[in-house]
Amino acid sequence: MSKTEASFGQTDRGGPHQPLIIAKDLKKHFPIRSGLLNRKTATVHAVDGISFEVQKGETLGIVGESGCGKSTTARLLIGLIELDDGSIIYDGDALGTDIKLKELRRGVQMVFQDSYASLNPRLTIVDSIAFGPKIHGHADPSGVARGLMGRVGLDPERFAERYPHELSGGQRQRVNIARALALSPRLVILDEAVSALDKSVEAQVLNLLNDLKEELGLTYVFISHDLNVVRYISDRVLVMYLGEVVEVGPADAIYAKQAHPYTASLFAAMPSMDPDNRTEEPPLAGDPPNPIDPPTGCRFHTRCRFAEDICSKTKPKLSVIGGSERHLAACHLQDTTSGHSQALKEVAE
């Protein structure tokens, strides 16, 4: 980590034990307006009270299906959309009171899924990367950009003056990574950053991300729907369902044993990769419900095969699983006092 500070001059204010980001009770509801007077007719509960922290130097994987709020969470973390409620603490400083959004954005950057849409088609590669350093008054923005191009595996001689449409998807995503690194951030949010790439190219980019993390002492928030990729890259994993956290814990612990029935279903839904032992029964029926009108109590109870009355009435709290302080799940089955008839017995199945 000292290497990072030396080469980029970014101060570590909170010390090694202060989480780089603490998200407290984040909430974001989007109104749906319609009609002549643009009146609010419904609310999308995109993110509904989620809390987590990201330690310095770790990779936090966020998984979940469409509509679970993982991309909204990413955009909240970097201030692209405004919080309805909750707070973000960056290295001990609360956003809005201790530091301004502009300061947060020097430390936090993002790479988006669509490599083409995230590059201005009328700017050359070098100009796209140099945009950040330029507006922050750097003496030699294109020098920074060319240096970063070399770092992400794009020869500046060959690629600097090209336009995005002349590059392949993998090359464009390398440009996006270079652009995100141009302000020497400490945290990079990767929002499905490798999902649109071909598998062989995806592996190259994952190697690159690992190298950059080591060289620059970066911290990642890695959002993906691909559990194999998340396992490979993450230290800890956070599972979201309809705007809420259902389970969070060390990647190894969660991949070994899932505490929440939804997490278990997600894993069971992965293709088996064994032609002699193919999946015979889908783990869940139907689609994820619409986040416009989420179910009461535990939001998963409409699709959960363990659901009982208690599940539709009371919202389960995130609580510690199996004695490990770091593994938490929000399920009545895990709570001996919840009143669920199968609590803490059936899960071991």
Binding site: L80, R105, Q113, A117, N120, G132, I135
Partner: protein, 295 residues
């Protein structure tokens, strides 16, 4: 374990990228219809500008004995009008005013409308509501009626025609600019630029304008033909250019009484309007497809 090189590209020739506009220009040149139309429009404009040097007859010189002479009459290749003035000279001189009132309002509206649309589309929220609802009010009237109403309120004359036509064309251009801006605004590279901490003005300047000006420009080009016809219409109704100035719409009006005597002469100004607006429309079509990058 096999060690494999982890570079993004194996081998690719070094080359300088042709800029976006160079590509547009190249595609445009490959479109024979668009190129022909551009040449016709350019010729019309050049002829209008250099009319005094073309050795034409005096377009104002009337002659009671040479009224409504047919096409091909000695000394008057395109005949004469109802006051015996040379049609060829009047048509070429008429191009000056007609093209002027056809182009200037669109250029003015292009700047004003684009600015309004860019601001509305990028900022959004209540600013968008105010700008776009105001624009919608103007949209409620057919453009012809609106032009006539404003012109008659301001009184006849070239300047007032220009003002009224500019007002007529601001709303549609603002509309197009707003929707183009809003769709660019939703793209990830704008979010990426915001996340780098760029101010709204910087982002509009660097990332938005270049990507929306193209479609607005194409649209504005297509409006010039409409504008020309509207201007001709105002003159025809007597609330635009006043006689004896040569202007195609006005000429169409004054010659309409001659339609039974010499229909070919009476139709000539109309033919000019038709050719010019057709060429402008085809030109803007060609521009549209040349700017359409499909990769």
């Amino acid at each position: 374990m096999t060690v494999v090189a982890d570079t993004a590209e194996v081998a690719e020739p070094v080359r300088k990228a042709p800029g976006y506009w160079a590509g547009v220009f190249k595609r445009f040149l490959n479109d024979p219809v668009a190129v022909t139309c551009t040449i016709v429009v350019l010729l019309l404009i050049l002829a209008a500008i250099f009319a005094p040097y073309l050795g034409l007859n005096d377009p104002y010189k009337a002659s009671m004995i040479k009224r409504l002479k047919p096409i091909g009459f000695p000394g008057f290749p395109l005949g004469t009008d109802e006051q015996g003035r040379d049609m060829l000279a009047r048509l070429i001189y008429g191009g000056r005013l007609t093209l002027f009132v056809g182009l200037v309002p669109v250029v003015l509206a292009f700047f004003i409308g684009s600015t309004l649309g860019l601001v509305a589309g990028y900022v959004g929220g209540w600013i968008n509501t105010i700008i776009m609802r105001t624009v919608d009010v103007f949209f409620a009237f057919p453009s012809v009626l609106l032009a006539i109403a404003i012109s008659s309120a301001l009184g006849a004359g070239i300047i007032n025609s220009l003002v009224s036509l500019t007002i007529v064309f601001i709303p549609p251009i603002a509309r197009v600019a707003e929707s183009a801006t809003a769709s660019v605004r939703a793209l990830d590279y704008i979010d990426a630029a915001r996340a780098t901490g760029g101010s709204a003005l910087t982002i509009i300047r660097v990332h938005v304008i270049g990507n929306v000006l193209g479609p607005i420009f194409v649209y504005a080009t297509s409006l010039t033909s409409v504008c020309m016809i509207l201007a001709a219409g105002l003159s025809f109704l007597g609330i635009g250019v006043r006689p004896p100035e040569p202007e195609w719409g006005l000429m169409l009006n004054t010659l309409r009484t001659a339609i039974y005597i010499n229909p070919w002469i009476a139709a000539l100004p109309g033919v000019m309007i038709f050719i010019t607006s057709l060429c402008l429309n085809l030109l803007s079509d060609g521009l549209r497809s040349a700017m359409n990058v499909k990769d």
